[in-house]
Symmetry: C2
Subunit: 234 residues, 2 copies
DNA sequence: CCATTAAACTTGACGCCGTTAAGATAACGC
DNA sequence: GCGTTATCTTAACGGCGTCAAGTTTAATGG
């Protein structure tokens, strides 16, 4: 067990890849994406600046690994929120929207790596799988909220296949609100509204309350649903 | 007229401030916010790397000037969209939302400077004025869509004064959708949906069509409006 | 009109960044 | 035990933002 894990103290680190990821998460939490540098992460991991290249290629590779974790976190948090909503009689769609915001608020630095303009390795398989999974949850829940039957492989389908989806408008509607509010909150656009004490909490309450009400009402009211799949059940 | 404007050819530039802003816009348009550097802008303006310090203080100062332009652009585009909607019988609120997206799509680099996590001079008066104005337009139009009477000074009120606004939920709802969709589109989150030919145009059409329908319906349906101002007219 | 003052800009340097090439070291397969 | 291979270090490169000091021009005021 000590052959691959744990710092050996000497020339070889043992598990530099994980150590770099941990350091990166710490730096992102402390200084945000602005103060994030590869050298700083290497410093915290106790290695030279050139060491990470062997594991991640370059800075983009490290950011891609972080982004993959971010998508996984998103998926897990949303699924957990669904489970909790299911148990407590809450709404599933609202639950994932609140989970989305919670992820952004808990780890804003990493959230910006996931969704920011920083270039990621576009061809990375792990990253794409994680992104597809998270997106699939959003699609599935939106469709369920619309009363659609959902086949099991929604979570695996590539986003490009949703181009003609009849529910794409509703999906984008839900995602836009969720992503927009989360982004504005962590990027400080709503900072003036947070001035008074408890300002942020009140904004979050407004989001979980009135905004979710409006969102759910809009999705439910939108149910003309042309039912683009004529061979549904007969 | 040639005492202050135009390049004098010699040691003094003449209007370096404007030249730097122009160069910055060009760099943002060409390379985006990732490839944006102060030295590159100075190079294009034909001056040394240290020259801009006199006009902008530092990089943040330049970005702040760019962001101010971005807010002004936003305000002008939204007002113009309202005028056009008013003339053609379109909806005013939908018009400003589409104008918002148009600004993001036309100058994505600058848009990211305005709304990105890059630090701006938080105390800058011009920046705050421009931001308050743009936000005021959004507030005013949302309130109008809700059937509220709007006093003339909405455009001047500081955002912090909206903390107790009865329509804050609707305002944030509208803004979240608009900002969320715009951000996701220019940051590539919807790239997989743009794969097929004309993909982006179809997404924009979906936004201007179904999403705006849903948004307007949601705002109109939300009109419980508790009318938090009891001393309104008697 | 000219001397003085202030503003604008350059030069040169500093420390930091990401990345690379070449060399040192340790783990692993045989 | 030994060669191979993966891992890490050292040293260096160019580019970055920023600052201090010096140089050049414009503005000012008598």
């Amino acid at each position: 067990m000590d052959t691959k894990v744990g710092k050996r103290g000497g020339y070889h680190h043992g598990d530099l890849r994980q150590a770099m990821i941990d350091a990166a998460e710490a730096v992102l939490a402390e200084k945000g994406v602005g103060g994030f540098t590869l050298r700083e992460c290497a410093r915290r991991a106790g290695v030279s600046p050139a060491a990470p290249a062997h594991h991640f290629g370059n800075l983009v590779g490290l950011l891609t690994a972080i982004a993959t974790l971010g998508f996984d976190d998103l998926s897990q948090t949303m699924e957990a929120a669904i489970a909790k909503a299911e148990a407590s009689g809450g709404d599933r769609l609202a639950a994932i929207c609140e989970g989305y915001l919670a992820v952004a608020l808990t780890r804003p630095g990493r959230f910006r790596v996931v969704f920011g303009r920083l270039g990621l390795k576009s061809g990375d398989d792990d990253l794409r799988r994680a992104a597809v999974r998270a997106f699939g949850i959003l699609v599935r829940e939106t469709k369920l909220a619309l009363g659609r039957e959902v086949d099991a492989d929604v979570l695996m389908r590539l986003p490009s296949s949703y181009g003609d989806d009849a529910d794409l408008a509703e999906i984008l509607f839900v995602w836009s609100i969720t992503h927009g509010f989360s982004t504005m909150l962590i990027d400080g656009q709503l900072a003036p509204l947070e001035m008074q004490p408890g300002g942020r909490e009140r904004l979050i309450a407004l989001y979980s309350g009135r905004l979710m009400e409006m969102l759910l009402a809009a999705v439910r009211a939108s149910t003309p649903k042309p039912l683009a799949n004529p061979a549904s059940h007969g």
